[in-house]
Symmetry: C2
Subunit: 235 residues, 2 copies
């Protein structure tokens, strides 16, 4: 079987900052599918497939090309029904989508503000103008202003991750998906891998109990969460 090609957002020095590409890598690994991750810089995505897609992840599997992390997960379950399912039921998929939705206001928005300048700084030179223009438009301010006073944003993000500490502590549940890891874990961990790949200020305290879970998820599938350069996530 020809290996699946994954276009994976690349930054300097072997960094892979896209959380959505991390999810796709975990989804492929969960299915036990061999894949080749091909690095692509932000402004080169439009050069692929005649400009058909604006974002990564994009996978190419024989004749099929699929863009978007959710569409990729769905495609892999449909195309490879005999391999371990990413979503064992429609309910699992819906609950994972809800969990992603819950992370946007409580965690992701704070991470975006706090680390947007760090993301910029690890991009290759040719991506920086595009990144700055598009993100400053979205933020309504300069990247430097968004990141100013980021300690409060980092505190908010830490608080927004409290659900994991309750899960590990009071609940005694090792993974978001229960006793075994699943797409819910990949969704949450991919946001942390995004930050780990760029952070110049640690997101978590060194004694944060959720780090045990994060390291477990990084170790999965042959250590797929360790296949890129990262800065420290905690300190």
């Amino acid at each position: 079987m020809k290996s699946i090609l994954l276009h994976d957002l690349a930054a300097l020095d072997g960094r892979r900052p896209s959380p959505f590409c991390w999810r796709a890598k975990y989804a492929l690994a969960h299915k036990g599918l061999a894949f080749e991750a091909s690095p692509v810089s932000m402004t080169d995505i439009r050069k692929l497939y005649g400009g058909a897609h604006e974002t990564v992840p994009i996978i190419e599997d024989g004749e099929r090309t699929v863009c978007d992390s959710w569409a990729i997960a769905d495609y892999l379950d449909e195309a490879y029904p005999d391999r371990p399912r990413i979503f064992a039921s429609p309910g699992e998929r819906g609950l994972c989508r809800f969990i992603e939705a819950s992370m946007f206001p409580s965690v992701v928005v704070h991470l975006f503000y706090a680390y947007v300048k760090d993301i910029h700084d690890v991009l290759p030179e040719k991506d920086r103008v595009y990144f700055r223009e598009s993100r400053e438009k979205r933020l309504g301010c300069a990247l430097e202003e968004a990141a100013a006073g980021r300690e409060a944003r980092i505190e908010n993000a830490r608080a927004g991750l409290e659900s994991l500490r309750v899960m590990l502590g009071q609940l005694g549940q090792p993974f978001v998906a229960g006793e075994s890891p699943g797409y819910g874990d990949y969704v949450v961990a991919s946001f942390l891998l995004w930050i780990a790949s760029v952070a110049t200020a640690p997101l978590l305290r060194a004694d944060d109990p959720l780090l045990a879970w994060f390291e477990r998820v990084r170790d999965l599938h042959g250590g797929i969460g360790r296949t890129a350069t990262v800065n420290a996530i905690a300190g």
Copy 2:
């Protein structure tokens, strides 16, 4: 088939304030199982089954007695495998537990402070001393102090429910469990039914988009979420 007996926490004037009992009622209804809800006051729980259980819900199904909302859901799936599953996969159960865990720090703790005096006030006289003593010990202050300045707590709880607004808005997903309702919806809606049953100050603004979802969940299974006295949830 003899109908299942559910011991359901009762308060004054037909109120049913326990979120955990609401979950059990939704779980029974989801399975399409007939049940009889028997009201029990807080201080009478120990009079059931020789004091074997300290909390409700408790169900009695023939010879079997099961206490605790999660244990009840698991029991119903095990005992009635041919009826619609509450958890179609172990992953669904784990994700629902994670969602509950995520609600405790972001929503439930704020609701508890903001509405603890309202809960007290709808309890029958004989439960009030026990409730006040046990909850003041947990809170470390008088019920009245916990509820003082509750506007900020209510604002926090509203913010903690933002995940539902993102789900309904950006995601366009009608239920926590996806296209169809599931236990994830029952977990979240049961916390709102708890508050609706006691609130003397509205939890939500009248134009909150999540009300559409809440009303849909109340309508499920023959309108099971409308079978008890409630105050307004929004205003």
